[in-house]
């Protein structure tokens, strides 16, 4: 039996339109052999969690550059728990000050990548921490 590929939803929650990072990460993960679903912009946490469940995703990568990260990341985590999908790994990146990074990690975000992170580091993270659900 061949193992299913790891499936990652890359999403832009909230209202900001800065999608350079999200698109680069989506493409880098795809080039590294993962299955990637990119949601496009201006998604609500509800839409993102719905996409993740429908697509049977193993992880969600969120990109937020509007300063709304505290609300948006925790809302996605809450919705995943409510819908019995807490096993979906949530990671992300954006303009996020150190204090908020610490708080979001404590709340259950697996990893947050600062500007300047290489795509190789993100690929390594996904390889190390995310397994395809059977």
């Amino acid at each position: 039996m061949s193992e299913r590929k790891v499936r990652v939803v890359v999403a832009k929650p909230g209202l900001d339109g800065h999608d350079r990072g999200a698109k680069i990460v989506a493409r880098a993960l795809r080039d590294a052999g993962f299955e990637v679903i990119y949601t496009g912009l201006h998604q609500t946490p509800e839409q993102i969690v719905e996409t993740a469940i429908q697509e049977d995703a193993d992880a969600i990568g969120l990109s937020v550059l509007s300063g709304a990260h505290n609300y948006l990341f925790t809302r996605v985590l809450d919705l995943l728990r409510e819908q019995g999908a807490a096993d979906v790994v949530v990671f992300g990146g954006g303009i996020i000050p150190p204090e908020d990074v610490a708080a979001l990690k404590a709340a259950g975000v697996k990893e947050l990548f600062a500007p300047g992170t290489s795509t190789q580091d993100i690929v390594r993270f996904v390889r190390a921490h995310i397994r395809a659900a059977v």
């Binding site: 339109g17 698109k23 680069i24 880098a28 300063g67 609300y71 000050p97 300047g116 290489s118 190789q120």
Partner: protein, 530 residues
């Protein structure tokens, strides 16, 4: 032996070891440069340039409540800033009031929260609108923000012809790069044309649009792509205005531009010079403009946010200084210098002050602004300006072949080109072929944390309550009438601006007016490209 690095510009244009007159065969000073303030404006849009007037030092500012930003505005003016520039929060930029569910977590975070005229009045409280020029970085809701600004002028008894400033209002680049939108491309451009038409008649010193390469570059474009797509957008607006029946010389003098100033020092200078020459030629030859003012490209500039690093943030002070110097050598009319802490959060007052001082230092200590286009005539720079021009014209030709910029956007052409360039550039950084000091070279393990600006959590609640109170105090019949008037104008044609001005005076909110746009024109759906 040469070092094993790429001898090319950031856009990939090849660089010779040195340049001689042989690189400028057939180059005539009279055709390529002319005098400053004269066709083809390569050396600058004005005859006296910085000897007559320094560039406007315009720091982009906005956060929290209108009162918070008002204080920052006043601080910057006290520190010698010469123009205002307003950053709105994401809900205002996307057409939602502070009390809308989609505004959750975003109110006052990336800019100032504005829902009604009441907010806008607080934002500009005590600021002499007739004397200071105000720039507003707002696009799909720019028509509503302009209506509010004009309504405040009316309330204070300031004649509209005394108002100077700029609305960013460049929807084409929104679809290409910044991606704040409500409705599809054609109705979005129609509202832009309404604003160009309205200000040309009634607010003659206001720039109704700032045709922006900044966001195109920040989204990952090369300098050549930025130059080309920005000018293609400009061509798109001129075509739309001419189709409306406007005489080109009635509105073109008030079109303004906005370019990014990135790390490649000479390429950025060449880009601004090439932009002026291409625009002058396009306006004269393609659109038959007769007034020189219609042909001269005036531009705001901003140092490249995307080049700033979160690692070793103080290095950004040096980056910004070099980029700002390139903007000045390129002949910019206005400049925003980024603050070193912006990869972490909105800037602190201390960081903004250093950024502003960087401009003042270039202006008053270096003596650079005392000579117009001081690099003009250098074999290398003139050759590079010609190369930038040729490469951009090639792209503009491709956009024309696709049927113009609106069609090109619908087909995803600029978006795909930019996403490809962004990815290529990232891979070069990952491989260390493109050096980012402090990140992929000279990295340091231990980072000192910096002080950064925190937005009070109560802002969202207070702003939501405030808009609720304003809405509750209105006459609902009047509100319904105003919304109906706007819907009818959107459906049947006619300029939206007079209707919007009446509506905001009756405290109809930004979100309610945006809802009319949503209902009448429908929502834009982006092609998913990555």
């Amino acid at each position: 032996m040469e070092r094993p690095v790429r001898f090319e510009t950031l856009s990939g244009l090849p660089l010779e070891p040195f340049y001689t007159p042989a690189h400028l065969a057939g180059w005539r000073h009279e055709d390529k440069l002319g005098a400053p303030g004269h066709y083809p404006f390569t050396r600058g849009p004005y005859a006296t340039m910085y000897r007559g007037k320094l560039w406007t030092m315009r720091m982009f500012a906005g956060y929290g409540r209108p009162e918070d930003t008002n204080l920052r505005f006043k601080y910057l003016l006290e520190q010698g800033q010469t123009g205002l520039s307003t950053a709105f929060d994401m809900p205002a930029l996307m057409g939602y009031d502070a009390d809308h569910p989609r505004a959750r977590g975003e109110v006052g975070r990336e800019g100032v929260s504005i829902s009604t005229l009441d907010d806008m009045e607080r934002l500009f409280d005590g600021i002499p609108l007739g004397d200071v020029t105000t720039s507003m970085t707002i696009n799909c809701t720019a028509s509503i923000a302009l209506a509010m600004y004009l309504a405040i002028a009316d309330k204070r008894g300031i004649a509209w012809d005394r108002l100077g400033g700029t609305m960013q209002n460049d929807m084409l680049k929104e679809f290409i790069a910044q991606k704040e939108w409500i409705c599809p491309v054609e109705p979005a451009v129609r509202i832009v044309v309404d604003m160009i038409e309205f200000t040309a008649r009634h607010v003659p010193k206001f720039n109704p649009v700032s045709i922006s390469g900044y966001h195109i570059r920040e989204a990952g474009a090369t300098a050549v792509q930025e130059l080309a797509f920005t000018l293609a957008d400009g061509i798109g607006y001129v075509e739309a205005c001419v189709t409306r029946g406007l005489d080109v010389d009635s509105f073109a003098p008030r079109l303004s531009f906005f370019f990014d100033i990135h790390n490649d020092f000479f390429e950025e200078i060449a880009k601004l010079r090439a932009a002026r020459r291409i625009w002058a030629t396009v306006m004269k030859e393609r659109f038959g403009a007769r007034k020189p003012e219609s042909m001269r490209l005036r531009t705001h500039t901003q140092t490249a946010g995307v080049s700033a690093t979160a690692q070793q943030p103080l290095n950004n002070v040096a980056r910004v200084a070099l980029q700002a110097l390139a903007a000045v050598l390129g002949g910019a009319q206005s400049l925003h210098t980024n603050s070193f802490d912006e990869t972490w959060a909105l800037p602190t007052e201390e960081a903004v002050t250093v950024a502003l001082r960087t401009q003042q230092l270039i202006a008053e200590e270096t003596h650079v602004p005392l000579t117009i286009d001081p690099l003009g005539g250098a074999y290398f720079l003139e050759r590079l300006t010609d190369q930038m021009e040729a490469a951009a014209l090639d792209y503009i030709g491709k956009v024309d072949a696709l049927g113009g910029i609106v069609r090109a956007i619908d087909s995803g052409y600029p978006q795909t080109e930019i996403a490809d360039a962004a990815y290529r550039s990232q891979l070069m950084e990952d491989r260390g072929e493109k050096v980012v000091v402090g990140v992929n070279k000279y990295a340091m393990p231990e980072e000192r944390s910096i002080n950064y600006l925190r937005i009070d959590e109560r802002v969202e609640l207070e702003q939501a309550e405030r808009v609720g109170r304003v809405k509750a105090a209105r006459d609902p019949k009047k509100v319904a009438t105003r919304l109906k008037q706007l819907a009818e104008t959107c459906r049947h044609g006619g300029n939206v601006m007079p209707v919007l001005i009446d509506a905001v005076k009756d405290s109809v909110s930004l979100g309610e007016l945006s809802d009319v746009y949503r209902q009448v024109f429908g929502l834009y759906r982006e092609p998913i490209i990555f």
